[in-house]
């Protein structure tokens, strides 16, 4: 596997934007502010395309066979001893099990310590007047409910394309993103994985450049002759 850079040719099938070559088995647009979910079969690669740039994509992972086995930000960063998600990062469950692996990344930095925005936390961060605004937890709850998940199943998540530095004194915050229109990150499923996404609706901080935009989800399966 090679890691594409911003200038290298990207392998894909026809005009489809999968970051890793294969037969496309799913290609869907996620509306700005909307939820999305799918089970990605073990071995398949999910490419997330930041179509217009700097769009935070909040993401939770669950083993499809047993959703009690779910993504753990803590275990993931503990095992790799870094808060930065990029190529090579193994996205682990709180059992230690690998759920997915980042196999290609055109940005280089993604967050997993900042969590998801909620109506409730927005009141702390921006004021009570923001309570009625759409937020990621709304998406996670509604989309998760379609799979039998509830509030107890929501934990610290991944934020693709979001930039959260930690200063030497511990100050951390969501700052301007490093992504750009068309940039992609690709995740290979290590087990059949339910991917739950909120295309972040936040308008009070730079995680979406103050302007939520659509993203594209492409799942590719290695073709027989490529194996």
């Amino acid at each position: 596997m090679t890691t594409p850079t911003a200038t290298s040719p990207i392998a894909h099938t026809g005009s489809l934007p999968a970051l890793v070559a294969g037969d496309v088995v799913l290609d869907e647009l996620v509306a700005a502010r909307g939820p999305w979910s799918a089970v990605v079969t073990a071995g398949d690669v999910l490419t997330i395309v930041d179509l217009e740039g700097n769009q935070a994509v909040d993401c939770l992972l669950y083993a499809a066979a047993d959703t009690r086995v779910r993504y753990s930000a803590a275990e993931t960063i503990r095992r790799q001893r870094s808060i930065v998600l990029t190529t090579g990062s193994v996205l682990r469950a709180d059992t230690g099990e690998a759920l997915m692996t980042v196999v290609a990344d055109e940005v280089g930095v993604h967050d997993t310590i900042g969590g998801a925005c909620s109506q409730e936390s927005n009141t702390l961060r921006y004021g009570e007047h923001t309570r009625e605004q759409h937020a990621c937890v709304e998406n996670f709850l509604l989309e998760g409910a379609r799979w039998g998940l509830g509030k107890r199943d929501l934990v610290s998540n991944i934020n693709w394309f979001m930039n959260v530095p930690v200063d030497p004194d511990g100050a951390l915050g969501i700052v301007d993103g490093l992504s750009a229109p068309g940039k992609r990150v690709a995740l290979r499923a290590d087990v059949d994985t339910l991917v739950l996404v909120s295309n972040c609706p936040q308008v009070n901080n730079p995680c979406n450049g103050f302007n939520p935009t659509p993203v594209r989800m492409v799942v590719a399966r290695a073709s027989e002759d490529a194996r």
């Binding site: 803590a74 503990r78 909620s118 409730e120 927005n122 107890r152 934990v155 511990g170 951390l172």
Partner: protein, 286 residues
């Protein structure tokens, strides 16, 4: 089955006497009931207000339901404890400590005096109101069965090297909760810092005698596990007991709100406190 005259527990009366003769024993790590019977309490803790006094062995866990206005102190007496905390709202356990919001909302990754512990509902579970350690971790959670099995050869709750998550799960199960109720947690007395490249650096313990005090803003289920930190790089599973003491401190709630306990509250902390008081007022019959 043959019984012999030399076995004191061959009869119900003998077995009962044998069992009861064990009552009242004091061992180095145990809960003291009533709490006021603890052999020693910190000097600044009012003995008549103590509701929980326990020494938790390294590799063990404990849990209690505590009332709003309780001050909970964890003391790393021997200097090598690491305490992971699961904190849920008592009447609504699905409202629980959210580690991401706990670092993101106050714009601060490192726990210390004055740091709010936030729920996933924009409310305040507790505030760190004293801290002589400064070595804590809200990023890497606790150890896992798989991780400890790889590191030490075992990780089950009753093995020689129990994983934090297995212990916290047991504590959760005893409150009718389950695996879905064990999210990433915070841990005390073993520090982690993030360097300029995002790498995690373990800073270990500050030494014996450090303590941290939490003031509970709501009635809460507290589950504590004392086990190795996930970034502990020592080959063997080693650590020391932690002393736990809790006492009623309703005046501290007033002092916290008046900014006379940990000084000025950050604006997000203040909002979380207001959201919590608003919720409690709405629930109250008075």
């Amino acid at each position: 089955m043959t019984t012999t005259a030399t076995t004191g527990t061959a009869t119900t009366a003998g077995a009962r006497a044998h069992a009861r003769a064990q009552h009242g024993r004091v061992v180095p790590t145990m809960r003291h009931v009533p709490a006021g019977t603890a052999p020693s309490l910190p000097d600044d803790v009012p003995a008549d207000a103590v509701t929980w006094a326990e020494t938790v062995a390294f590799g063990r866990y404990t849990s209690m339901a505590l009332a709003r206005g309780t001050r909970l102190r964890l003391v790393d007496t021997a200097g090598d404890a690491c305490v992971s905390l699961l904190l849920n709202r008592a009447e609504a356990p699905h409202e629980r400590l959210n580690t991401a919001d706990t670092v993101k909302v106050p714009w601060q990754a490192y726990l210390g005096a004055g740091h709010p512990l936030l729920t996933d509902a924009g409310r305040l579970l507790a505030t760190v109101v004293a801290d002589t350690s400064g070595r804590h971790d809200a990023l890497t959670g606790t150890t896992t069965l798989a991780g400890n099995t790889e590191r030490y050869g075992a990780g089950a709750a009753h093995s020689a090297s129990p994983a934090g998550r297995e212990l916290l799960l047991l504590g959760a199960l005893k409150h009718g909760l389950g695996p879905r109720d064990v999210p990433p947690t915070v841990s005390f007395f073993k520090g982690v810092r993030v360097d300029g490249d995002g790498r995690l650096v373990s800073t270990g313990s500050v030494g014996p005698g450090a303590y941290v005090d939490l003031l509970l803003q709501v009635d809460a289920l507290v589950v504590l596990a004392n086990t190795a930190h996930p970034l502990d790089d020592r080959e063997r599973f080693i650590g020391t007991a932690v002393d736990v003491v809790a006492w009623r401190a309703p005046d501290d709630l007033t002092a916290l709100a008046a900014e006379a306990l940990v000084g000025e509250l950050g604006p997000e902390h203040r909002r979380a406190l207001e959201n919590t008081e608003h919720d409690l007022t709405a629930r109250s019959t008075r």
